[in-house]
Amino acid sequence: MILLSFLIIPLAAAFLITLLARRDGVGAALISLVATALSLGLSVHAVVGFRGETLVYSMGAWRIPYGIPLVADSFTVFMLLMVNLIALASLAFSWGYMRWLGSDWKYYALFMILLTGMNGVLITGDLFNLFVFMEIALLAGFALVAYGGQAHEFEASFKYAIMGSVSSSLILIAIAVIYSSTSTLALAKIAEAYPGLGPGLRIWVGVLLLAGFSLKAAVMPFHAWLPDAHSSAPAPISAMLSGVLIKTLGIYVLIRLFYNVLGAPGVFLQVFLVLGTLSILLGVVLAVGQWDFKRLLAYHSISQIGYILIGMGLGTTLGMVGAVFHAFNHALFKSLLFFNAGAVEMGLGTRDLRKMGNITRLMPVTAHSSMVASLSISGIPPFNGFFSKLIIIIAAIQARQPVFGFLAVIGSLLTLASFMKVQRYGFRSEKAAVPLGRRVGWSMNLAMIVLAVLCVLMSLLIVPGIREWILDPVVSAIMNKTGYAQLVLGR
C-alpha cells in the first residue's frame, strides 16, 4: 500500500489543484507542497524502514504474469528519496520564483503530474507500465519547458518533444520485440527468460533499449535536445529536469534494465564506458565556451551524466557505489546551481555571465551557495562531488581501466576551469550591475541554503558506518543482478 501512495498522492494533488485551486496560485502551491512533503516523508520512512528488503505489491491482486507489480527495493527507495527531495526544494523555490513569473495553478498541476510520472517509473515492475509513466512525465515536462510562453521556449519544447517521440518509438519497438520473444512484460519474468534467447535477439533488444533510454538520459551522441530544453525552462523546472528527470528516465532505467534484467552483459558495459567518456569530455568542452549561465549548466549535466555512466560501465561494486553516489550528489548541486541561476535572473534580469555583477552584495545567499555548488561540481574536497568522483576514478583504476580514469580526471579539471569562469565573471565580478528591485524571497533562500548544507553533509555518506547503512544496500540490490527476479517472484 505504501507503494501505491507514491502514485496516488501526487496524482490526487494534481487533480485537486485543477478542481479546487483555480482561483489563485497560493492554494495550488500549498496543495502541491503538502503532497510532495508527504511523498518525501514516505520515502524517508521507506529508506529507514526497508533495510535491503524487496517489497512487491500486485495491483488488483493479479499475480505477476497477469497483473502489473509495483516493486520497491533499496535502489528504488533511494531514487525516490532523491526525486522527492529535489521536488520539495523546487516547489519551495517556485513559491517565490513563480510569483514573479506569473504564479498559476497550471504550473503546479503539471509539476505534480511530472512527479507522478517519475515516482511511477521508479516503483513499477512492468516494462510497459514503465513506458506509460515515462510518457506521463515527459508530456508534463514538454509543457513545463514551454511554460514561460516565449519564442525560444516553444522552440526548445518542440525539439524536446520530437526527440522524445523518436526515443519513445525506439523503446516501444524494444518492448514489442521483448514481448514477442518472451511472452511477458514483467521485468522479473523477462530477466528469467532473457538468457534463453538467441544471441542475435539479445543484442537487438539491448541496442534498442540502449538507444531509446540514452536519448532520455542525453548521453553524448544523443544529447542535442538537452541544452535547449534545460536552459529554456523556468529555473525550478530546469532543476527538476537536470537534477532528477534525466536520472530517473535515463540512468535509473538503464541500470535497472541492463543490470537487473539483462544481467550486465559485457558488451554493453563497454559501450557505457565509451559513451560516458565521450559525454564527459565533449560536454565539458562545449560548456567552457558558454556565456549563458543556464546553458553552461545544461552542458555540464551531460558531462556529469558521463561520470555516472563510467561508474556503471565498470561493472564492479566500487564503480557502482560511485555511480549511485554521484547521481545523488549531482541532483543536489545541479539543482542548487539552477536555483542560483534563477535567483540571478530574477534579481538582475540576465543570464549572461558577462553582465552579472555585485551579486555578493545584492544577493549574499545566492553568491555563497553558488560557491558551495561550484566547488562541489568541480570536485574540491570536502564537498560531496569530490568523494563520488574520487570513488569512480579509483574504481576505474582498480578495474584495470586507467585510461577512463585519466580521462575522467581531465574532465574534472575542465569542469573546475569553467566554474572558475562562472565565479570570476559572474558571481564575484566587481561590475556595477543594475538591480531590478525584485527581492529574492525567503523561500527561495531557504531552498538554496538547504541544498547547500546537504551538499556538504552528503560527503558523510562515505564515512564507513553511514555508508553501510545507506549506500551499500542500494549497490548490493544492483549488483545482485538477475537475483532481482528471484526476489520479486518470491522464490
Partner: protein
C-alpha cells in the same frame, strides 16, 4: 516476413521525413507515421495465421486465437501518441504566432 519488412519500410519513411523535412507540420506528420509503424508492428506480433478473435466461448479452441495483449498495448500507445501529437500541434501553432513561419530552418534562436 514481407509484412514485417513493409512495416519497417513505413518506419523508415517516417524517420526519413523527420530528419529531412523543413516544415513543422510535415515533421509532426512524420513522427506520427513512425508511431503508426511501431503500433502496426506490435499488432502484427500478436497475430497468427487463420487466427480468430480472442473472446472465450463454448466450443472455441483457445489455441487458434490471436494474442489479445498486444491489442491492449496498442490502444494505450495510440492514446499516448494522440496526447503527444496534440501537444506538438499546439506548439506548432504557438511557434507560428511567434515566428510567422513553419520553416524549421528559420526558427533558430537557440544555438551553440
Amino acid at each position: 516476413m514481407t509484412l514485417y519488412l513493409l512495416c519497417f519500410a513505413l518506419f523508415l519513411v517516417g524517420f526519413y521525413g523527420l530528419i529531412t523535412k523543413r516544415d513543422i507540420v510535415k515533421i509532426i506528420l512524420a513522427s506520427g507515421i513512425m508511431g503508426y509503424a511501431v503500433n502496426l508492428m506490435i499488432v502484427l506480433f500478436g497475430y497468427r495465421r487463420q487466427g480468430i478473435y480472442p473472446i472465450l466461448e463454448k466450443g472455441k479452441p483457445v489455441a487458434s486465437m490471436v494474442d489479445p495483449l498486444p491489442q491492449a498495448l496498442v490502444l494505450t500507445s495510440i492514446v499516448i501518441e494522440l496526447g503527444t501529437t496534440a501537444l506538438l500541434v499546439a506548439l506548432a501553432v504557438c511557434l507560428f504566432r511567434k515566428y510567422r513561419t513553419y520553416d524549421i530552418t528559420k526558427i533558430r534562436r537557440l544555438r551553440g
